[in-house]
Amino acid sequence: MSDQGIITAAISILLLPLLSYTLTFFFGKKLPRKGDFIGVTLMGIALIQALRIFITFWQIGNPAHRVEQAYHWLDLGGGFRLDAGILVDGMTSVMLMVVCLVSFLVHLYSTGYMHGDRRYERFFAFLGFFTFSMLGIVLSNNLFFLYVFWELVGLSSYLLIGFFFHKATAAAANKKAFLTNRVGDWGFWLGILTFFTACGTLNYFDLFAQVHAGAIKGPLLAWAGVGLFMGCVGKSAQMPLHIWLPDAMEGPTPVSALIHAATMVAAGVYMVARLAPLFGPEALMVVLYVGAITAFVTATIALVKTDIKRVLAFSTLSQLGYMVMGLGAGDPVNAMYHLTTHAMFKALLFLGAGSVIHAVHSQEMPEMGGLRKKMPITFWTFLIATLAISGVPGLSGFYSKDGILGSVLAVGMMKGHYLPFILGITAAALTPFYMFRVVFLTFFGKPRDQHKFDHAHESGWSMAIPLMVLAFMTLISAGIPGKTADKGWFSRFAAPYDVAAISAQYEAKHGGLVVASAEPAAIAEAGAALAEPAAAHGENLHAEAAPAEGGHEAAAAHGEAAAAHGAAAGGHNSHVRHTAHVRAMIMSILVATLGIGASWWTYHKLRVNPAAIQARLPFAHKVLQGQYFFDELYAATIYRFTLWWSVVCAAFDRVVVDGIVNGAGYLTRLVSWVSGLCDRYIVDGAVNGVATVLQGAGEGIRRVQTGRIQTYLVYVSASVLVLIVIYRVL
């Protein structure tokens, strides 16, 4: 496909879901089957287009290749202009594939799951709208449109979480999601504005070049990066804004699969990965710790939850924590890889859970059990996904998670921050434990609720096919390692940005940098140049990543480090990374085995009684069951402060403002009384006199208004004549 063809296909992918939304929203009620086939068909076409782009980039095989087209949209004067632009590169093509595939399968699945709902057609309309917004985030080439679609995604998630709005919990959940996201978006917008003010552009690659040239640096760069990251914290549900995601499970299960597992929450990760060069080392450290804490804390909560969807929700949070941790470790490639693989197996897990819920009409695992025989397709696909998320070697989750853990360990070894790795590896041990707990409680053992068990049955084809497709994708997304590069298929699509090359392109295009402070740029370039030979002989995992990494770090360290030091660091880094990856791999295989074994011992063999442990550690259980009391904490602090502040404001309003208003009112009344006296005797006399005269005149003129059009026409022509005469005379 040519570049132009890619752009055309990308635009068609963006617009098809919008078309689906429009058609279904306005005409859905009148169409047969309430128009669900429209959404499914259009998403199918979009999926085919995404597949074409994906294959094109596969054939190109160069992560740095990108196709960008911008349309001039708005000129604010003073050199500030906004473009509506499309950017397609390897990362985009993977995201397009993920979003379109999951969205298509969820559309298909929903025809079965939502069957008979009163607002069936509205559901499909919202799904289309969400997909459109998400694709907008993926395809945008500048921060402004990224933000616009970011908010649209927030809106559609609001609509879909609250789809069962007659349920009070659902209504509260969507409000919570929206408000929590607002907090993150506030920081995100501040970050965007900071970059815009400093660099005068919002285009990604222009920004990279500007940042590389030092248009923004030091604390400002750090804070702006943290601002952008706040957007990610809100949307990807990181600590401490993670509280909305578990509640968002009030939405229909296909929505949970689409939004709260595979795509929307991935938007934050995608954003940070896409904007990786904008994050300075300080900001990355924040990202790293937030991710690590989230991964660990939410994994512990997942241990005790009994609602199957909630367990999955907390596992999603934990996996998102991994991705963010990977970003923080300066390894956006593995973060995106994990995003992709996670999208597949987590969507599969949610759809499988939906299938179970559909069958037994309950979300509580203590009411399930023994469903393996009754629902074989659901069981086997669910098992595949569970193995993948647990990090069993050979399945996709192992490679991506291991890549992240390796990078985190490398950072720990280089900078002495070992805590993130410890948290991460602990979470990696907890993940298989609680995931197999779900499998054992749901599919194995004896049915605990005979009535519900008798009622259960395998779901229809519209729900089974998506499960099988996703299981297939989960199996193959590990890829066939070895042939092209050590990192497998994903390295064809994503690599760390080569900022120096981007800068050079930018300079060639614009004839020099707008905000050029020559010194740091020169140092960074020297660093990159010197790092190259060091990396050339490295035959390890990160061979091709090293030059850019070295250049990046040199640029970041321009304050204190000399160019030669940067080169040495580059050579040293790749060695450390190699060691770290080997160690991390061994450890993660160990902990995965440990987790699965412990789960099997506890929940299948029943050798350990969980209730006994629970009774032994009442406090720990209470904390975990209460999700570390984040909601209560916010209720006690933020909500209460808001309420208190409102009371203060109200008091101020009542005493001060009202006092001023009332005083003014009293004064006005006094003046009015005086003025009234004047009015009555002086003004009224004049007014009445005028009125009498006017009334007389009106009586006379009234006769002119005959109501006959023709009379009016006579007046008009007379007036025209008079005007002509006046004009001639004067």
């Binding site: 208004q705 005959t706 109501g707 006959r708 059009i709 023709q710 026409l713 006579v714 022509s717």
Partner: protein
Amino acid sequence: MNVGLPHFLTVSAVLFALGLFAVMSRRNTVAILMGVELMLNAANLNFVAFSRYVQRGIDGQLMAAFVIVLAAAEAAVALAIVLALYRNYGTVHADTAQSLKR
């Protein structure tokens, strides 16, 4: 005599004045409409004459063509109004419809 632009303009002026008079004086709405048509035709005649003698292009004729189209639209709406008037008041006299006065 040697026919020239002023002759056409004079004919047009006569038509216009007659149309104006009809519009101002006739009671029957249909007759008023006929007056309007006369005035429009007078204007059109001017356009074509100017297009021929002064401007020497095609623009005047195009303008006249547009006027003809709009006159057709106007006639359709006006006659519909006449029918509505007849239906509501039982007559087509313009001065019966004077509820505006009240």
